[in-house]
Symmetry: C2
Subunit: 208 residues, 2 copies
Amino acid sequence: MSEHQPTPRVVTDHPERIPGYTYGTDEATSSPLTLEDLARLKEAVWLTADDERALREAAEILADQADDMVTAYRTRLGGLPWMRPYSGHPDGTPNPEYGAASKPRFDRFIIDACTRPLDQDWLDYQHEIGLRHTRAKKNATDHADSIDHIPMRYLLAFTAVVIATAREYLAAKGAPAEQVDRMHSAFTKSVMLHVTVWTRPYVDAANW
Amino acid sequence: MSEHQPTPRVVTDHPERIPGYTYGTDEATSSPLTLEDLARLKEAVWLTADDERALREAAEILADQADDMVTAYRTRLGGLPWMRPYSGHPDGTPNPEYGAASKPRFDRFIIDACTRPLDQDWLDYQHEIGLRHTRAKKNATDHADSIDHIPMRYLLAFTAVVIATAREYLAAKGAPAEQVDRMHSAFTKSVMLHVTVWTRPYVDAANW
């Protein structure tokens, strides 16, 4: 490693330095899903080889915007008083330390959703993310005191904001409309694939 | 009613003639959700007054395309052998009667998602739709014999297809790109709102 190495400017740089980001490590939990389960979910969201190419293109465009995207999500969530106790203190007052600790992981999700191969490491870390939304692991990574469970309905509902607002970021670097369409469609499928897997800890196996 | 009234051509005409479509009637179940629950979900998907205007515009554009949209969804699902037992017979062979019986309701959903006020009738019928995906009511409306439970993960995952493919239908009548963007964003939020509420029967109240 060069002693003149610049400070990382974008979340694609050095994810291994992000506290609590256990992707691909023994610290991530083991997913209860199989690779065949994943193959079916990939078919259900209709993620094609062209979508995977479009996601790689999206990653280039979103790399230096992921932090702004997550800031925008949090601005929206912070504007909803009843939402604040899930990220702030239980009384809804802000918890900047928790926000700062969790943000690089959320930023990194944007890029991971565009770049990570869909393999066992992916399954394991997505299950870890799911658990971190529920009583199983919420707050534990960052030693926070917010409400220890995000209701599944809010996780799902807010996915609409992530998907709907993605278009402007995908278009921000001047890509042709047709390419923006391709990238937005692929991003929609990838986000729904991720969020679907994150719901596993909320639901009995017989219903999920 | 005129005796010269034309045959309905689009699903916006005469929904009361659709078998099993109990929207706004005493036959629909009662939702366990309150209007305050709904207000929060509407905030979580960020459905604004401008989105509601954009949805009304989308309804005009989608009215005579809804049937084609649902046909396209079913073509996709029918292309996945492991998905066929949920809409066909348990061995995966087609059940055209079930498909024909349920299609007008699915078509009508596309328009309802763009036009229905978010009120108690909405809550009740969305809960009814949710139940009809689960062991509580799957197959009952149409006396079908398909698998009696659609796993929640497939309901969520396939939402990506509904959202991603909507854009081409919204753009099909020559609306300016900016209007297509507005309508697609609003449609994304509306679909996620609906699907989120449909998940209620799958999940314990404490987790949902």
